[in-house]
Amino acid sequence: MSTPGDVDHFFRHEYGHLVALLSHRFGVQHISAIEDAAQAALMKALERWPTGGEPRNASAWLFSVARNEFLAQMRQGNDRRRILARYPVDLEPVPDKVPADIAIERMQDDLLRMLFVCCDAAIPRESQIVLALKTLCGFDIPEIALRLFASPASIYKRLSRARSVLRELSPGLVNLNEGEYPARVSSVCSVLYALFSEGYLSLKADAAIRRDLCDEALRLSGVLANHPAGELPEVFALMALMHFHLARLPGRQDGDGGLLLLGEQDRTLWDRTMIEQGLSWLALSAEGNQFTRYHAEAGIAAEHCLAKTFEETRWDRVLECYAILEQFNPSPLNRLNRAVAIAEAFGPAAALEDLAGFSPPGWLARSYIWAAVMADLHGRLGDAKIASYRARALAIAPSHATRKLLSRRLLRSTG
């Protein structure tokens, strides 16, 4: 088992376990008191462990302290009678020597249950993500704000909205039956995917902060994929997709933190083990007859991972996957990405022809991505139309690193 000193995120992850365990035991409507109790347990560990030594089963120690803390809070609160009636046994003081009664499997069950609770349809998507980051990943409000590029006040608001939904859940709904899992798996997958994308697609943050969100999304997806409730092609494909993207992260930046285009990246920096794992998940995801957007996206990412050089990319297969993706998840951004692949396979003229019949929605038309792709395609054709797109892309690029990448790419085209 892991110990506090040698694991980077020990306390953050223990916090998530504590919230999940206590929520299952006492009901998620007590979420605020439960979070306070988990926090208090960590503080007590910080006070005791440095001098007294780490307990042999640190997780069990923390759980026992958090449970006592929670019950002590309840004794003072209005919920007292109800809780006491349900959990008379817990009022016995817990001895300092805690039996290792929380099995790992049990912990994973509770973590998964909490994940499903966070993905309740009654909670708005943006609040679901914040709730998962707070309760399951152990980030506090300023840390979440930093990672989602929002103000602490807005994160707090999103969290409050989620908590008020949880508080009002009727007790029967609080503890999901495993029978209710299948209906929610897709929603859980899309929250995990959104969490991952926040980390992966964000060009604004530094690499370490981005990596945190990706790692958390992967960790929670792993809990789901390794649980009987999550043994589904959709979940396996999501795991494959995340592995393929993470494998390529080390190549995305140059030594100075500048961003590199796919064609410029040193592919020897890509994480081979991650790619291998991704391929295993992809193979698993192909068993059964469910096909999802994650399959198509994982297929595209796999082609990139497997190509020895940019030039050797099998663009025909990439395009096949985009065509499938278009059926499952038609989106303007996918349409634009497909055009970029068409440009590689058949040249910029073919890509522009493909986009001719497409009118992008306002948010995309106004984005730097649209301007950058249009500038690139026109530039490669030697077309004077590049100028206005290029100027616009450079003007609205979201970060210094992006602007640098764009000017490198777009200034070498004439026009």
């Binding site: 000193g5 306390f11 223990e14 910080l46 440095p50 001098t51 152990g138 980030f139 300023p142």
Partner: protein, 115 residues
């Protein structure tokens, strides 16, 4: 010169409980890491890592009294024993110990006399 042992006594002002922002789990991790790093750095100087002191009794000629009934402006929160070449060195080691000194709390470093 041979090293001396020093008793480090952590004290807090009575009634002064720091009520700042509660640290996040990531910050707890960092504090824990810093303490362990301090301990590794000064492993050779730490004779007894000591610990926090709980409630107790005061024994006098008049009998045994509750600790709480003794008038004090400061309470002793914990102790440890260091070995160092001088009181200044011991004081510097104690100063570097994360989480020991802060608003309202201090460490007193006293040489333990040996014959």
């Amino acid at each position: 010169m041979a090293n001396q042992n020093y008793l480090c006594i952590q004290k807090s002002q009575l009634g002064h409980t720091p009520k700042g922002e509660r640290p996040s789990p990531a910050q707890v991790q960092e504090m824990y890491g810093r303490f362990n790093a301090w301990r590794a750095t000064f492993a050779a100087n730490i004779v007894d890592i000591g610990g926090r002191l709980g409630a107790g009794k005061v024994v006098t000629v008049d009998g045994v009294l509750d600790g709480a009934s003794i008038e004090a402006k400061e309470i002793i929160g914990g102790y440890m024993i260091l070995t160092a070449g001088s009181v200044d060195e011991a004081a510097e080691i104690a100063r570097q110990c994360p989480g020991v000194i802060g608003p309202g709390s201090s460490v007193e470093v006293r040489e333990i006399s040996t014959p």
